[in-house]
Structure formats: C-alpha cells, structure tokens
Symmetry: C2
C-alpha cells in the first residue's frame, strides 16, 4: 500500500541536488543539502516540532511528549548523499521518521513516558569530508566537535565553514539523555528482495577497515625518462589495486575489498605520476579474517612501492569493529513487523550507518526495507513505494512502543 | 657565457603562469598563456616584427628580409605548459628564436634570399586539449582547422572559444611557402649532460602510440554489493597498468610504456568505480617492437576487462611513426656548433615536438640543449644559463645560413 504523505515529502526533498538521471548529488553541508534542510525544517515547524542544531550541524526535530525531564527516543538518518547517489539512502530514514513522528503527534492521547526526536546527522557519507559517520560520531562521543568542524574538503573548506555558509552551524545541544535510537534505512543489498521479505531486522554490522595509502614518486616526462629512472606512483597503485582484490578472491568473496578512489598528481597523459593517494577498504563479519587481510594488504602495499621505486605511507582513518544491535529492540522490530503482517528477515549490514555510532551512547537498532536489485550509491537506486510505506508503518509502531516503555 | 637579453625575456615571460615552486602552469589558450603572448607580442612589435595569428591561434612573428614573394624560414616552439611544468619546455624555443631573429634583424646588411618567421604553435602539450601538437598539425596539414577549434577541455570549453576569450582566434594565414623549419628545445632527457655536450643534433624521433582505454562497469556500494556482482572499472584499470609496465620490462626498457592518467567516475572511497578512462602510451625506435607491444596491450586490456566483468572500448588518438629529420639541416647544425666551439652529440628525441609535424610540409630539424638531470614535465626542470645562451647562439648561425641559401 502506498503512503501519499510520505511520497510527497520524499519527492519535495529529492528536488534539492537532483541529478539529470534522477539521482542525487547532495554532498554534506553543500548548498543543496542546506536547501533540503530548510525545506524539511519548514515542514517540521508547521507541525509544531521544535528544532535544535548543534555545533556540527546535527539537526534535531523534537516533540516533548513526556515533559522536558523525560529521556528521549531518537530516530533518523542523514540527508547528505554520494556525488552520484540515490534518492533513498539516508533521506528515507529522516523523512520516514518525520512522517511517523508527526502521526504520533497528531494521534497522541498522552501517556508517553519518553520524548521523541527525529535527527538528521551531518556527513554520514564521508564523500565530502572524511571520516564518514562524523555528526553521529560527535553525538556518540567518538569525536570532539572541534575535530569534526576542522575536517576539510578537497577545496580546503572546513566542515565548520561549510555549515556556517548554509546556516547550520548551531549552538544548541542534542538531547542529553537518549534512551535509545532506531534508524530506518534501505538495505543497499539484495537479500530482502531475494527472500521476498519487506522488513529487515538488522542483527549486527560487519567490521570495516579503511586505508589511505600514499605512494610518493617523482613526476617526469614519459618520453625521455628511461624506465629504470622512473618513480611511478600510479604503477604502485596498479599493483595495490590488484593485490586488494586478490585478498578477497582468496576468501571466495567472504572478505569484501575495494579500491574506489585514487587521487593522482598531476594526472596528465605524458607525465609519470608523482604521487597517488589510494583509498582501500576491507569488510568482514569475522574479525580474524579482517585483521589478517589488513596485515596482508599493508605488506602488499609495501611490495608495490618497492617494485615502483616510490615512498609509502599508510593511514587507517576508519577501523570499525563488527558488532550487534540491541537484542530487545531487534525483538520489538520483528514483533511489530509480524503484528502488521509484513514478512521480515534477520540480516547483517555490511555498510556503515549512524546507528553503529549511536550504539556507543544508547541501545540502538535498524530497520531495513528492500533495495531493487541491491543497487545503491548509484543514481539507479530504487525502492518500491509500498516497501517505503511498510518501513514507516513498522517504524511508527516501534516508536510508539519505545515511547511508552518504562525507563 | 650568459646572455642577459635572452635571460631577461625568459624571466619576463615566465611570470605568466608561474607556480609557487618556480615552475609553470600555463595551459594552452588559458588566461596565463594569453598574457605571455601579449607580453611577447609587445616585445616583438617594438622591434618591427609583423604579427599574424591564424584561426587556431598559431602566432607568427614575421621579418620580411627578402621581399614578400620569397619563401620563409620558420623557427619556434610553444608557450603552453603542462599543469605543473617547467619554465623551459617550449618557451625557450620561442623566446630563443625571438632573440636570435632580432639580432639578425638588427645586424642585417641585406642579401638574404628568404624571409624569417618565429612561430608559437598552439596546444603543443595536449594537456588541456587532445591531441597534442595541434596547432602545428593544422599548419602542416594533418588536421583541419575546424577540427582543432572543436577540441574541448575537461570543462567543455572548445579551443575556438578559449582562443576567442584571450584574443587569439585570428583570421591571418601563416606563410604559404615555408622553406624549412628549425626548432630549439631543451632535451628533456639526460644524454647531453651525461656526455658533457652542449648542443644536441636531433637525428630522428621515436615512434609513439597513445591509447585511451575506457572500462565501463557499474557504480555500486562497496559494502553490501557481493564481490561476484561487482563490475569494477578501477580493478580493470589496475590490471591494465600492471600489464602496460610488464610489456616494457619484457624488452629490458627498450620499449617505453606508461599510464599517467586515469579519469575515474565517481572516484569515491566506498563506491565501486563505474567507469575509468585510462591513458596509456608506448614509445620505441623500432617500429616492429612498438606495433607488437600495442597489439599485446590491446589483448591485455581485453583480459583486464574480462576479469573485472566490465565493458571495454579502445581508441588510439596518437599514432606517430618513428622518423628522421632533414639530413642537410642536421649537418648544418653540427657544423655551426663545431664552428662556434660547442661540443655536440647526435641523439634521438623520444618526446613529440612540433618539428615532427612540420616535417610533413617542409624540411625540418631540431637543436637540443641539456636538461639538468634530464628532469622535465616537472617544476624542477632546469637548464644552465650558459647552455641556454649556447643554443641561441647556434640557432642564430643556423638561421643566417638558411636565410642565405639558394631556394
């Protein structure tokens, strides 16, 4: 069953940063994300939500359902996207939570024991500012706000400056007493679709390690420079890309590995590359497999540098261990899906999510809905309207239970 | 011996596009190149040179030494640079020719049988507009002017538009009757320095083939997308980079090979690359070795695409055969160096030069001077002042002979 109210708000927000192919280019704290926040803020203010913005731009839309001293149930996701991302990744979890929260507000007969806040976390994607999961990381206590505000994009603009420019460098605090956090998100994989299930009950997350490998060679003319004298940073990168994939192949694909980005200088046809920053990542459910692969990759990067005659430095900006979400919240989601007649499936998330950060501070859980063909981080990302509606329906029921729970 | 007049003009022109590290960022038809042309044009007009600019921006500074119906001796090079190039590559050949030509003008007692034109060719480097050697290619008859003007840079600006913007989209014709062309250039390799020679007599050029290999995969989230379902364009590129180098290693370095540039989309850490354009090049003096390597590379690219599950298309924008310069002009340069007491060395050029294009239209030759440590296409590119002076000294003598020759 479709949900016209949800669909209308999704469509309205998807205008900001819309690409020609129907996807989104709405980087964190960009003008487009600012416009999306403005539009959502107007929708929320018209419906009596309070708005708080903290110093890293996290936006909290609050409903004081149980009085100012009561603890808070948080729900939300993020409005930023990848450069050529889809309409649903993140935005669905914020907008779906707004629609669910507003229904609770409209039909509230009192009796709640907790307050409710919908959150849009800043810079979940990490596409503009590294690391990813930055706003939720500050709220959860992993990062200092000053560290987050000092992160800069490729043009040298800091997150603090970018937030200032769009009017979302706030001075409020998020709720000091979070009782729990639940996040609605598209699966970004094919498991639900293949199982014919509508609701994913997320059990835990894979471990993820990201590397930035810097190969420093020497720029030189590709014509007259003898091969033996070349210090070719891109040759080293080529070897590292091949080695990164081989580590996964060795596990039959149980280890996920990828190099998705190279920053090459000067990146000119007839110049031997002077330097390359290579961004590699590894993911696995098994911590030993993950750590073994990371050690092997560091050795392979050293060999690649040696072969190409270039210098090497390696940093590890992300090292997120595997973990599980709150068992009683998972049970609540599963029960709510069943009660409403949706087929559910227990599964893990391979991707990073704000909910993984929030786990540091309060019980946390996630609800997934299907992604067509599992395609995500792509303008072709798609979820059926009826699945979007089902996710919001389950979220609303889960929130009602969480708001009523004894604290 | 230093040449203060040469040095002053080199320094004045090197201001335009100067980088913090003392190199140049003066792309073809950029504002900086426009400023360099303006400054050089003012210097030339003050010395009674005529100025002609053709429809692709080639700038001809003319001295009618033998009357308007006499054939023309051409000399020159290019003012454009690589993005982080050096001060001497190209600019030295234009400025040195201006200084030599002006000395000939000032001391002329008549009796020349040919006219003289100094030329600055448009877009030699190919860093902004592909292919390289574009302006000289039009003059020499390889390309139509309309084709050259339609070439566009990464921002979609055409060469015609860029020339218009800097005031160098001309309506003049270059000299219709070129008798010969001689180009002064830094070696961009270490041979002269190692041999202790000052003047390089360039015998011929290596063959060069450039490829653009497009790998078309599918952008996808690097988390939830199973390895078997990935269509990773950057993985294919990694294999192709390694294969490109292996083809050279197999010849002990006699074949030069390089991948210096990748255009990766979307180039984001946690997205499997959707597409990569890979720029590879091969150079060799032996045509059979070059053609064998090209065929092997095309096979290797196909294998790389197969392994990564991506689509492949290959274009070959440059296919420049090996060739030799005019024997009598080479002998003239060698004799002039000897007469003036400079030690000379016969050598080949591996890099492409406008003189190779000019060979299609008239006898053509090149004079090289040393490059410190052979470093070029790098801000550290350097040639000693006394070597710069020696090159201009030899060029002046060669031009006097060519201007006096029977036609």
């Amino acid at each position: 069953m479709n949900d016209p109210e949800l669909q209308a708000l999704l469509d309205a927000i998807a205008v900001h940063g819309k690409t020609a192919k129907g996807g989104l280019n709405r980087l964190a704290a960009s003008r487009e994300e600012g416009a999306a926040r403005d539009e959502l803020g107007a929708w929320l203010r018209a419906r009596e939500f309070g708005i708080r913005v903290d110093s890293v731009g996290n936006l909290f839309a609050t409903l004081e359902l149980a009085g100012k001293d009561a603890p808070w149930v948080l729900t939300g996701s993020h409005l930023d996207s990848q450069p050529h991302g889809g309409r649903f990744d993140g935005a669905y979890g914020v907008i779906g939570a707004c629609v669910a929260a507003d229904r609770i507000r409209r039909t509230s007969a009192g009796g709640f024991r907790r307050n409710l806040a919908v959150v849009s976390w800043t810079n979940e994607e990490g596409a503009r500012f590294a690391p990813s999961l930055l706003g939720s990381g500050v709220y959860a206590g992993q990062y200092e706000a000053a560290f987050a505000r000092s992160r800069s994009d490729a043009a040298g603009i800091t997150l603090g400056e970018a937030l200032q420019a769009i009017g979302y460098s706030g001075s409020d605090q998020g709720p000091a007493d979070p009782a729990c956090y639940v996040e609605l998100h598209i699966e970004q994989g094919p498991a639900l679709e293949r199982a014919g299930a509508t609701i994913g009950v997320v059990e835990g997350n894979w471990g993820t390690v990201k590397f930035i490998v810097r190969f420093e060679g020497r720029a030189a003319h590709t014509g007259p420079t003898a091969m033996a004298e070349r210090r070719d940073a891109l040759l080293a990168a080529g070897h590292a890309i091949v080695a990164c994939r081989a580590l996964s192949d060795r596990t039959g694909g149980a280890l996920l590995s990828s190099v998705g980005r190279l920053d090459i200088a000067p990146n000119s046809t007839n110049i031997v590359a002077g330097s390359v920053d290579l961004y590699a990542e590894f993911r696995a459910i098994d911590p030993a497999m993950l750590e073994g692969a990371c050690a092997a990759f560091e050795r392979a990067a050293a060999e690649a540098a040696e072969v190409a005659g270039v210098a090497l430095s390696i940093t590890r900006p992300t090292d997120r261990p595997a973990g599980t979400f709150d068992p009683s919240m998972r049970a609540l989601i599963e029960a709510e899906a069943k009660r409403k007649g949706y087929r559910s499936l227990r599964l893990d998330t391979v991707a990073g999510h704000d909910a993984i950060q929030l786990r540091r501070r309060c019980p946390s859980a996630m609800i997934f809905v299907p992604s067509a063909a599992g395609i995500s981080h792509n303008e072709e990302e798609f979820t059926l309207s009826e699945d979007l509606a089902a996710g919001v329906d389950v979220l609303e029921g889960v929130l009602r239970s969480l708001l009523s729970a004894a604290t």
